[in-house]
Symmetry: C2
Subunit: 151 residues, 2 copies
DNA sequence: CCTTGAACCTACAGCTACTGTAGGTGTTAG
DNA sequence: CTAACACCTACAGTAGCTGTAGGTTCAAGG
């Protein structure tokens, strides 16, 4: 028993890169696993589950800080799950805000593109709009910070 | 004539931070403006227009490389605006992809949150879903790279 | 003329969440 | 035994800025 995986296997199991695991360890999101005699990390099943949790949460767009909070809440199974819900709702709110922001961008971009009927750059509406059109308040906010994904 | 603005005024006029202007200069997006005797940058109206162009394009989510391309295209007013259009359409495509991705996230998050009916963390669906649910292929792609906005 | 405070200067560190590289060591199959 | 591959550390780089430290310059008031 007590099958332990090297970092490559763990990465495969959790669907992430080897370096990502080392990174999570470095920032304290994963514990430092025991090492083999030759100094190689050996991950227990529990570590891999934690890693998978992190990856799933990341895939849903949760920032690492939120995941940190979720993980520590997960360690207190008898507490109310109110705080967990709050984090998830915050994430949902964030996603919805980004969607609205991007939809506004899409409208603007479409309008701009549709107005361009080809021809010379001097007459191009795209360039013109970018040169002259003051973007509305809408675009001044920092709604869309960053995304998610594993390149 | 030839009113020239200090960096603070230019930033105000273009709606960005002073450091942002210096950054754009550093990466070669803005020319290095002439300096006063006391070594302070003096921006011409033309520089401010270029800066505003950049800010508008950023507000629409164009990455700096695309803006670089747009700017150099803008310097050739007799060329066809096909390339300009292509950049704008690429940006639109990118925005649309992000929207779809975020809408998928939203569905997942909503589902997860709705299933949670309060109670103890041990029974929390949110934690459970994150622990056990393997995210579909959909979330493995790098669709949403980064956003836009001026914090 | 002198001072004060704001605005400017350079250079560099920091943010998110990784990813990639260099240069070296461990492990395993043939 | 050796080749190939996985692993190790440490650090640099990505995008697009933002913030800080430590020092000048400038304009206005006394």
């Amino acid at each position: 028993m007590a099958t332990r995986l090297t970092i490559g296997r763990a990465a495969e199991a959790a669907g992430c890169k080897v370096q990502t695991i080392r990174y999570y360890e470095q920032i304290g999101l994963l514990r430092r696993p025991p090492r083999s005699e030759g100094n190689q990390r050996l991950f227990a099943h529990e570590d891999v589950r934690r890693l998978a949790f992190i990856r799933h949460a990341r895939a849903l767009g949760f920032p690492l800080q939120a995941i940190r909070d979720l993980l520590s809440l997960g360690d207190e199974p008898d507490q109310s799950c109110e705080a967990v819900d709050a984090i998830a709702r915050a994430q949902l709110g964030d996603v919805e805000e980004r969607i609205e922001y991007l939809q506004a961008l899409r409208r603007e971009l479409k309008r701009m593109i549709e107005q361009c009927r080809g021809g010379r750059i001097a007459d191009c509406r795209v360039i013109e709009v970018l040169s002259d059109h003051a973007p509305g308040e809408m675009f001044d906010r920092t709604v869309l910070r960053s995304g998610v994904g594993s390149p």
